[in-house]
Amino acid sequence: MAVRKEYIEDLEELKEKVLRMGELAKVAADNAIKALLQRDMELASKILKENSVIDDLEFEIENRCTRLIALQQPMAVDLRTIGTCMKIITDLDRISDLAGDIAEIVLQIADEPHVKPLIDIPRMSELSQGMISDCLNAFSEREIRMIEDFSERDNVIDALFDQVRRELMTIMIENPRGIRNASHLLFVALHLERIGDHACNIASRIIYMVTGEKRKLE
């Protein structure tokens, strides 16, 4: 028989809120690259508008965590869960901010032609999306199998970023008129690389939540 029914329900609700925030951050990052590829200004503006929803959620989740700690004195896995929620909402918020930064770049680029076909950037986005999805599943299922290989997956993103950067640098040197567009794209790639790092932070927190073990993924 489970005692402390309300407390357990509160914890469940907390987890749902975090998942919702994670889902919104993930969609924002996905849409940012969609907007870039399709030159969809409306979608880009929408991302910026919806950023505040994520900010509000972060604030609400933080309050819930504080309240649970103050009123319920959580222990063991519950304590680790609350600690994890507190930490990962910062990373989720950063992901949505980075999506917003990409959206702003999309608005600035508008119709101007790209200096190169976009191949590696969508690839980086796909990889980071996969990592965020796996984080959310791992968090919800309390199952770490799908996030244990994040160091390797992040290395792939880092390598793609290096490649994009080298290419764009070459373009900028050879064709100064392309600097504006190339530097925009460089920032997009940098933001995607950062999103991968945040996914790694989230994953190591989830491993701690599930196992109690502190493992650094980077």
């Binding site: 005692v3 222990m75 063991a76 896995v77 196992t211 109690g212």
Partner: protein
């Protein structure tokens, strides 16, 4: 260094009808606070009482070994009076004797033949260690029962300290006290561990977390998990410990 070690400790009540402790094996470290937690009836008090052989006064049968400072106290050669001097106990409800503050503290030393001229100093020292001296130094001849519950409990601690024990057992010492008195006792426990080995039973998980270095979780007479407090409350190894300390256990 462990100061108390039990081996295959089994305790039965009433013609072995109740098997209150089942093969408990534990090593309790010197100058540390060890907390015992677990649901009502799991054997915490029984375990505590097995460490100074109080159980036998209640008709319990004990099997196995309790080794204190390298010597088994159930080997038949132990002087029980001396044992209870070395292993003091403080109970849930403050139980001062119906006599003055002074006489309460002096009671044990007198029995053990402490000289009259040494008594004053010993009483003062014990009351100081129990963080009660300043509150009672001008009221030494007043009857103990007039004092508050928290003061009475600290008096009982002073009484236990006066016979110069090595180990002090506390059975839910704060459960009848308000938060301020509780905080005083908790601060006291942290002080006392520098000189004594402390074992405390508590139903308050936060208290166990606050005051103890090691925690033992008992369930139905079995020792389920024993380890460093900070480990046990952050990442218990056993599912049953986790269910209990997170409150998913009814």
């Amino acid at each position: 260094m462990s100061t108390i070690e039990t081996r295959e400790l089994n305790v039965y009540y009433g013609d072995e009808k109740v098997h209150a402790l089942k093969n408990v094996e534990i090593k309790i470290e010197k100058n540390k606070v060890t907390a015992l937690i677990g649901p009502s009836g799991c054997g915490k008090t029984t375990f505590l009482r097995s460490l100074n052989r109080l159980n036998e006064l209640l008709g319990a049968t004990t099997k196995g070994k309790v080794i204190i400072d390298g010597k088994d106290i159930y080997d038949g050669k132990e002087d029980v009076i001396q044992l209870r001097k070395r292993v003091g106990m403080v109970f849930q409800h403050p139980n001062p004797f119906p006599m003055s503050i002074y006489d309460n503290v002096a009671y044990g030393p007198r029995i053990h033949g402490v000289k009259k001229k040494e008594l004053n100093g010993l009483v003062e020292e014990s009351l100081r260690k129990a963080a009660l001296w300043d509150e009672v130094k001008d009221r030494m001849q007043e009857i103990a029962l007039k004092f508050s519950g928290g003061q009475q409990q600290r008096l009982c601690i002073a009484r236990a300290l006066a016979v110069n024990p090595e180990i002090i057992l506390f059975d839910e010492p704060c459960s009848a006290l308000d938060p301020v008195s509780t905080a005083k006792i908790e601060a006291l426990l942290r002080e006392l561990k520098h000189e004594y080995t402390i074992v405390i039973v508590t139903h308050n998980m936060q208290q166990a977390a606050r005051v103890s270095d090691f925690t033992a979780f008992f369930l139905m007479g079995e020792l389920i998990e024993f380890g460093e407090t900070k480990e046990l409350f952050e990442r218990p190894r056993d599912k049953r410990t986790e269910d209990y300390i997170t409150g998913r256990f009814g």
